[in-house]
């Protein structure tokens, strides 16, 4: 039997932030304890107002080795950036 507690990824929404952001990971026996531990480890300096935890094992990640095939092709597709439009002043910041 594996003795170590499973790993959890911690996401915190800051005081003024709109999205939960990944802040790190920790070990805990279950979700409830993971929230408590996250509170104690990652919100000691008023970092947040909401916590999410997700079992690290539940995250499917892209293959780092396939980086070139996945991401290189978009490098020269500058036409995908909406930078060729003239934006009327009235629209303001987008």
């Amino acid at each position: 039997m594996k003795k170590e507690w499973p790993l959890w990824e911690v996401f915190i929404r800051g005081q003024h932030g709109l999205n939960h952001r990944h802040v790190g990971s920790l070990h805990a026996p279950d979700a409830e304890m993971a929230i408590k531990n996250a509170r104690d480890v990652y919100t000691r300096r008023k970092e947040g107002i909401s916590i999410w935890v997700i079992p690290s094992a539940q995250i499917t990640a892209s293959d780092p080795g396939a980086k070139d095939a996945l991401f290189e092709p978009s490098v020269d597709k500058i036409y995908r950036h909406p930078s060729f439009y003239d934006i009327p002043d009235e629209v303001g910041k987008m």
């Binding site: 070990h27 026996p29 408590k36 531990n37 104690d40 480890v41 000691r44």
Partner: protein, 258 residues
């Protein structure tokens, strides 16, 4: 006449504040002894947070105690320059950490009391007391949430963790009666509307404790015996050793700052 009465109240209030401050300080120091030694990193940080909360509460109580005493003593003088017999903390909080389970059991028994006391103190006739209670109450609520949860997990855990928690409960139970035995200090402070008599908190405390211990599959020891004396300065042999470590720096290098 009014001043004589006021003097009696402030004398007793001073001692009552020391009981609050010393209990928070001594428990805070005890919990801080785990720093760097906890079973896992996450618990280490969590316990350090609890210790810091308690020491923060001690500072508020002792600062106010010093002001009420009016002899120029501040939080530091009261914390570092008194001997064991001048400390007024509960015997429960000076008990040694033992294993992780014993530390958590001690914390749980105290947290349940703290939450009830601080809740009552929010309506204190003394505004400073009410303010300190409001701030400390939020911390205590989290402490209780955490310690109750862990007591249940460990009590209702493996046969080894269950055995350790039951042993801890039996070792510490005889120090819980002191939390609810009021004396003349409590009477004066209670008559002034500053705080409730400790006895009035006991049944609610017992309700919280019974509920958690039942879920933890632990059995409350069948005894009504209780050690008392901590709040009047008669301590177990453990407090002196704790103070020797906690006060060493100020004793060896008086007035040292950094």
């Amino acid at each position: 006449m009014a001043t004589a009465v006021d003097n009696i109240v402030s004398d007793k209030l001073f001692e009552w504040l020391l009981r609050r401050g010393d209990s928070a300080l001594i428990l805070g120091h005890r919990v801080s002894e785990w720093c760097g030694h906890s079973p896992v990193l996450e618990e280490d940080i969590a316990l350090a947070n609890v210790a810091l909360d308690l020491i923060g509460q001690a500072r508020l109580w002792l600062t106010y105690a010093g002001e009420i005493e009016g002899k120029g003593r501040g939080e530091n003088e009261l914390a570092f320059l008194r001997d064991a017999w001048d400390f007024h903390n509960f015997l429960l909080v000076e008990q040694p950490n033992g294993d992780f389970g014993k530390t958590l059991m001690r914390q749980f028994l105290y947290d349940a009391y703290q939450v009830l006391l601080l809740e009552a103190l929010e309506n204190s006739s003394d505004q400073r007391v009410a303010e300190i209670a409001a701030k400390a109450g939020k911390e205590a609520a989290y402490h209780l949430d955490r310690s109750a949860d862990l007591v249940i997990r460990l009590g209702d855990g493996t046969s080894e963790s269950h055995r350790r928690m039951q042993t801890a409960l039996e070792t510490l139970w005889i120090y819980t009666g002191e939390l609810f035995s009021g004396d003349e200090v409590d009477e004066v402070v209670s008559d002034a509307g500053i705080a409730p008599m400790p006895e009035t908190l006991q049944s609610s405390w017992r309700q919280i404790v019974d509920e958690v211990l039942t879920r933890a599959t632990l059995e409350v020891p069948d005894t009504t015996f209780s050690h008392t004396g901590g709040v009047t300065g008669r301590h177990s042999e453990h407090l002196g050793h704790l103070l020797a470590e906690m006060q060493f720096l100020q004793r060896a290098y008086p007035g040292a700052t950094w």
